[in-house]
Symmetry: C2
Subunit: 266 residues, 2 copies
């Protein structure tokens, strides 16, 4: 039985059933999942890394069903919304917009005792949200109590402007942060948190994928696209190959291929 080397360096038996579950969890039919599992099983070898395993699975899925591949790749795609925290902020602001909020990013506000930069200010009806975004480029990095504490203190200082405070991350929260946030009334949203109302649900139900789900969009081209504030797949699709080429510095054929891949998901 081949073993998989995890990012932490520990070994784990390759588990077909686990792979099957993660595929159906991303929206694959039983039949599609079976095809992919068969393909991956034939290529897996003892000592394969989780990264390579993910790559093989994604490649197979991508050929068969790009939309499911996007879902399957979503967690990693969110971790590629870097290197700074700004693309994630902008992405989350776009999600809120899709949910009917009026949204502004990077707003300077004078509180009772200090001036604060608020990542996202969102309004809908009577609700006025102060949103703090915490982007992490690695899995396993949790938002801890200290962050929850300072976000809540900032909210107290800006109380006159807002009706609620949100702390949003692409990863998870520590248990102590969750306990504290619940107790003071700070809302949290992260990957699969809260259960069934996590970031992944917000994204899936509106089909608002980040550009980083596209497998062939990598390295410098990815960073340049994000710097040009193209973070949503639908923003990318609205462009012409020449625009994408100009922004990313890629030859026009590669830019056209990226656009083509983007359209297959959307």
């Amino acid at each position: 039985m081949p073993r998989v080397v995890k990012a932490s360096g520990t070994l784990e038996k390759f588990d077909e059933e686990k792979l099957r579950r993660s595929l159906t969890g991303a929206g694959a039919s039983a039949e599609l999942a079976e095809k992919v599992v068969e393909h991956v099983s034939s290529r897996v070898y003892d000592g394969i890394s989780t990264d390579e395993l993910h790559g093989i699975t994604l490649e197979a899925l991508w050929r068969l069903r790009p939309r499911v591949a996007a879902s399957y790749n979503l967690r990693r795609a969110l971790m590629m919304l870097g290197p700074s925290g700004y693309p994630f902020e902008k992405y989350y602001a776009s999600l809120l917009r899709a949910y009917g909020y009026r949204v502004e990013t990077d707003v300077l506000l004078d509180g009772r005792c200090a001036r604060h930069e608020v990542d996202v200010v969102a309004e809908k009806g009577e609700r006025r949200l102060m949103v703090e975004c915490k982007y992490h480029s690695r899995p396993g990095t949790k938002v801890d109590l200290q962050v929850a504490l300072y976000v809540y203190a900032r909210f107290l200082d800006l109380r006159e402007y807002f009706t609620e405070a949100w702390l949003v991350t692409n990863t998870k929260f520590s248990e102590e942060a969750i306990r504290y946030a619940r107790c003071v009334g700070l809302s949290l949203r992260g990957w699969k948190y809260p259960e069934k109302e996590g970031l992944e649900r917000m994204i899936e139900s509106k089909g608002l994928y980040p550009v980083t789900v596209i497998p062939s969009l990598d390295g410098e081209a990815r960073v340049r696209l994000l710097k040009a504030n193209i973070v949503l797949l639908r923003e990318l699709i609205a462009l012409k190959p020449e625009d994408v080429s100009a922004i990313t510095g890629l030859p026009i054929e590669r830019a056209a291929r990226i656009l083509d891949e983007a359209r297959r998901i959307a």
Copy 2:
């Protein structure tokens, strides 16, 4: 006119008057300051680093007046209370003890909404202080607003235990942190902050130097001594050369020399 290369890489003319002021500021008489300035001026060269300049000055002072040398070296000595933040916490707790407080370090407390680790809990009469220590190993690193915010939120959560909250650092505070702290009633103490009531005054007026003021205590020996919780000069002086040798791993002759230097200050 020789120029000095600062840590930031910028050049600055060597300024005798500035050196003279820093020496008298550390308690040197006009006569002593003059002697040291003469000695340093004869050895300074174009392109000397501030570190080397400090070293030459300290060496001269040390020969003439160890007690003044300790004062002159105090700011750097506080930055050597590392590598973790713990020696600085322990040092500050000792200072508070010298000022008549009952003191405990690293206290776990259950607040209204979360469990917190408090660096130092200090009591005197009706006063109960929650003290958060921020140690920095480099000059120029300021405690910023974010830290002041989370310390204040922690204080709110632990309100039933304390009458006041203190944020203490061996360096400085950002202006925004100062403004916020004043406004919410969080007390700050750092290097020369508040003016004339800063950390350096607390130390000088009780003569409570950290062991790191001793010029020849460096590298691994310094770290081992701090790990063994010997942070005050007076704690060191209470030891025998054999103890110092056992703790630091230094040969007994070097241990005896360090003790001898320590006694000359105290």
